[in-house]
Subunit: 344 residues, 4 copies
């Protein structure tokens, strides 16, 4: 199948190119970059030199994108909302890694992302690309909205607690995020001398990912849930760890928690359940589409925490995009993705 990548010079775009090079059914036919159009791909992604010799970034044009069977869009929020709709209308499958089609409520785009959503009807048709929660809906899906990296980690950590009604009240998702989350554009806060050694919260008064987390957890479990997402910048390059803290429901105990996680993730090809005195570590999944998921219960105070560690650029973006694509096409779910993480 012919694949196109829109916004291919950023970190998520580069990761899509890396994974497409490993995918047995995909061939890259088109890669766009506003900033680097005309440059060879290896100018920006030097490690991809042997995989895309002679291939160059191009400008974004609908006609070129229409030559693909599937288009992966890694454009910034709001930038690709129209071309995604046009491709969809022309019958091209779109896997959108931006937030543009994640939320069902069009009103939220105005509040959170500052634009009026031009295709509110399409929001209903888009499928949230988290196979662990929405595998059935993904089969045959033609418009897939890939979850955000923080959202993916939070949902994987919280899903069993919500589904089995093990918690009361608010879930507080304390997220530890690495620097590649912020993208490839240099800025003061992520300048090496500033970011290295830094431990600090950002957007702690309310993070946009909370809305897709609540929506996804409600749709997946049929229960209403309130989630607060508090991200923190820590000095790693790849990886995100979500620690979702909540008050354990009266009467629930460690065995209930253990059972919930075991059942929720039995048979999941990309979830490694970590238990027995061990806990997830983002380092264990770097470079791979795997998630480490675990939990801890402190009975003295009735607190439960669900943990999930992923590589923000793989299971949190490009890898999940391919996993959801595989499901949508009936391919083996791990096609091109059964690659071990890099450690140490």
């Amino acid at each position: 199948m012919r694949a196109a990548v829109l916004g291919a010079s950023g970190y998520t775009g580069g990761e899509l190119l890396r994974l497409i090079a490993l995918h047995p059914e995909l061939e890259l036919v088109y890669a766009t970059s506003r900033e680097y159009a005309g440059y060879p791909i290896h100018y920006v992604h030097p490690g991809l030199r042997p995989f895309y010799r002679g291939v160059r970034f191009e400008k974004l044009e609908l006609s070129r994108a229409l030559e693909a069977d599937v288009v992966f869009s890694a454009l910034p929020p709001g930038v690709g909302v129209r071309i995604v709709a046009e491709l969809y209308e022309h019958g091209v499958q779109v896997v959108d890694l931006s937030p543009d089609y994640r939320l069902k409520d069009p009103e939220l785009y105005r509040r959170l992302y500052g634009f009026e959503h031009p295709y509110p009807d399409l929001l209903e048709r888009a499928v949230y690309g988290l196979p662990e929660a929405f595998r059935d809906r993904l089969r045959g899906a033609r418009l897939i909205a890939v979850p955000g990296c923080n959202a993916t980690a939070v949902i994987l950590a919280a899903l069993p607690l919500v589904r089995w009604e093990l918690v009361d009240g608010l879930l507080v998702a304390d997220v530890k995020a690495s620097s590649s989350e912020a993208g490839s554009k240099p800025r003061r806060a992520d300048h090496h001398p500033e970011r290295e050694g830094s431990l600090r919260p950002y957007s702690p008064e309310g993070h946009r990912h909370a809305f897709e987390v609540e929506q996804a957890l409600s749709m997946a479990t049929g229960r209403e849930v309130k989630v607060s997402v508090v991200p923190h910048a820590v000095p790693a390059v790849r990886g995100v760890l979500a620690s979702v803290h909540a008050v354990l429901r009266d009467g629930a105990g460690p065995q209930d928690v253990a059972r919930a996680y075991a059942e929720a993730y039995a048979g999941e090809p990309f979830v490694n359940l970590v238990a027995g005195g061990r806990y997830p570590d983002a380092k264990n999944v770097v470079g791979s589409n795997y998630a480490e998921v675990g939990y801890a219960v402190e009975l003295r105070v009735g607190r439960v925490t669900g943990f999930a560690a992923i590589d923000n650029l793989v299971k949190g973006a490009a890898g999940q995009a391919l996993q959801a694509f595989n499901v949508s096409r009936g391919l083996p779910e791990d096609a091109g993705l059964k690659v071990p993480p890099l450690r140490p």
Copy 2:
């Protein structure tokens, strides 16, 4: 005044030596190390070479320690519990950086640290060395128990919320801790290739520091409070950030929170209150005794978070020891400590 440092070859001990070298009233007369007795100090702490030329680590002997006016003990938990008591009985002031005299309830030593406390009566006389909460008790104190690094950060972050009764229910302190917290002894989990890039919880089923946090918050405010401490290893060398999450009490709002923090820390020489859309960052205090404290309120879900960032080896250990010592002796509280952090 003549100062001794017990356990001077570890990270906390080295930091005591570094700060004593800057203190106008202290002169080092004795530094012990079991492992490095006989070696010059700069063999272990190369940067201290110009400050302690010819000075060597010695073995631990009561008679030598008795020559000091004040003894700073950085021995491991349980190891110094007797010599501290003996020095105290002989009239020597002791500033103990271990947990051995922090808790009032002797029973907790059996449960948390695995030893029967031999001087339960002394526990009552020890003063918890956190000037921001117990400045008055510290004046004239002859036995000071310096708080743990995680505990210091959590208490500073939570104190205003508890004192002004702004929260309901459990406080969850999600702590991000750097590698120097684990001490200078090599072990697999802190081996450079393992720790770099790692984002993971540790002791998430109940951390020992929760007990001293609860005790200190209760003593300082007169209110009962339940705190859960969930530490996480992140790949920084120095610094700890505590994010204390709680449900905002019904009726309380952002102004109440802002006022509580402003009042709690007005005039505090080592607390920098960070507000107005900015938040604490551990990087901003590295190498110094300063704490950055701040807060965030998410009204949508009724969540408040208090933040505190400190250097775990300074405000979380050696610096706080000197600050408490200064208070106990009526010296200027910032004597030897008015040193800016290192940044970047």
Copy 3:
């Protein structure tokens, strides 16, 4: 083909397991570890959990190793010297990642590694596993001695300069090495708080790899050459960069240097020649078997520097082992190795 890995719990061993999982022709039948015999592989290498479910480390026994078609030995220097010989005598192919069979002169083992080599005759039969220099000798090889990581980088950087006689006098190879080179065993110098931020030479009075570098360059070019290897510890986890400085031969110029590198590496599947104002970066090859090679000429002083950047655990160890194995068996040289690096 059935593959065994001796010493599989270390970093090099883990990397062999990771790459074998990706190799189309190899199946792991045996993995040994003295320390972790009986434990599942994912206990030590958590990221490999989905690839070796139920597989456990075993003790080292000749009989078990004889069941393999090829044995990759990642044992420490001197530890595997006998079993390697025994396997070879029994007709099993051995790819030895230790230094035990790299040097032709048995005397050097006493001087450099402190043991009398028990099989001096075998040294002559072992083939140095650097395909870029010894591809022809590797075809059909039954005993392959995989070069050291520093040696690989230095040789790749220097080979064109030596072969085309572009330099006069001593080559000084200034090597920047990451922490995983030191192996998985914790020690003070590589403790995270010690190693992070550290920039320091080690073994600067003469590094053992110099001997295999000189031997390999001489054998590959027919010229005598003196090389000094000066390694430095820098705070990265993976990757090594060799900067080989030399005085440019009278009459030689930038074009000669450019031509030498271009000709030396034309058609090499794993060498990316970086030129035109760009230079190699170890970050560009992390996780992959690729090398970035480049050069710089400063005419003002007549200095030339050859650069090579590799991942010390892949092209510097496990990846090169598989590449050499592929050549020895007539498999496609990049079988199992055509995997892009991870970046950022």
Copy 4:
């Protein structure tokens, strides 16, 4: 004495402010920033909040600068060349941390820095601010040109070898530089995800610092010397290590080298000579004005290497500026600078 800092919002400027706060004889009366004029100092340098409460960056005006007794200029190359001359003409002492007055040959400014030097006569009067080489000339100096960070490290490493004529031919200075050397302005190459894990040369065809190194070594020793400076970016935030490689002169041996270093640095207050199987480490001097200097001899190939490790922002910039200032004014050379490094 009243001090002004021009260009106070960058890393070097911030470090000047940090050190001035510790200096017993200096009081800050003026700090400029083009970008942050009007903002409080702690907006850019949060750690300095308790030291400069209420102080704001101002625009650069000659009249304001003339109120100072000494002006420290940390402006970019070429930007401050005129105001420095004007201040000097008005009798204000200037300590210039830019390269604008380092070189004696005006022609070099056109070639290396791209501008015609407007005050060639002043170049002769400026004193190169390296007390270890030019202490006598610095006494009473009214215009001090502070050496570059790489140059400082290279000169300290090489000086004994040149002075005692222990080497033949070219000196190759292989420099390992941390990210704060590049300044506070974000750019792609120093973006955290790019720089972390990166090991790469930069400007390897000829670095500008080579000229001031050659000039300084010649002036200090009376001997002609050729030095090639090859810098490398490594992922540390502070610190630079220079490894100066050369061929040992015929007949010279390890004892000659040891004696040269011992004599060269006997009594130097900020040079720690590291010998006896130990070598310099940039980590050992972070945050301080100290340099670690050492050497290694490999007799087998006749190679000698001099090493020097400094904090690029202190001994490589702001600290050295204050040290040279202290000498110029007859103050104790270590006034305000006798502060231990931060370690770990």
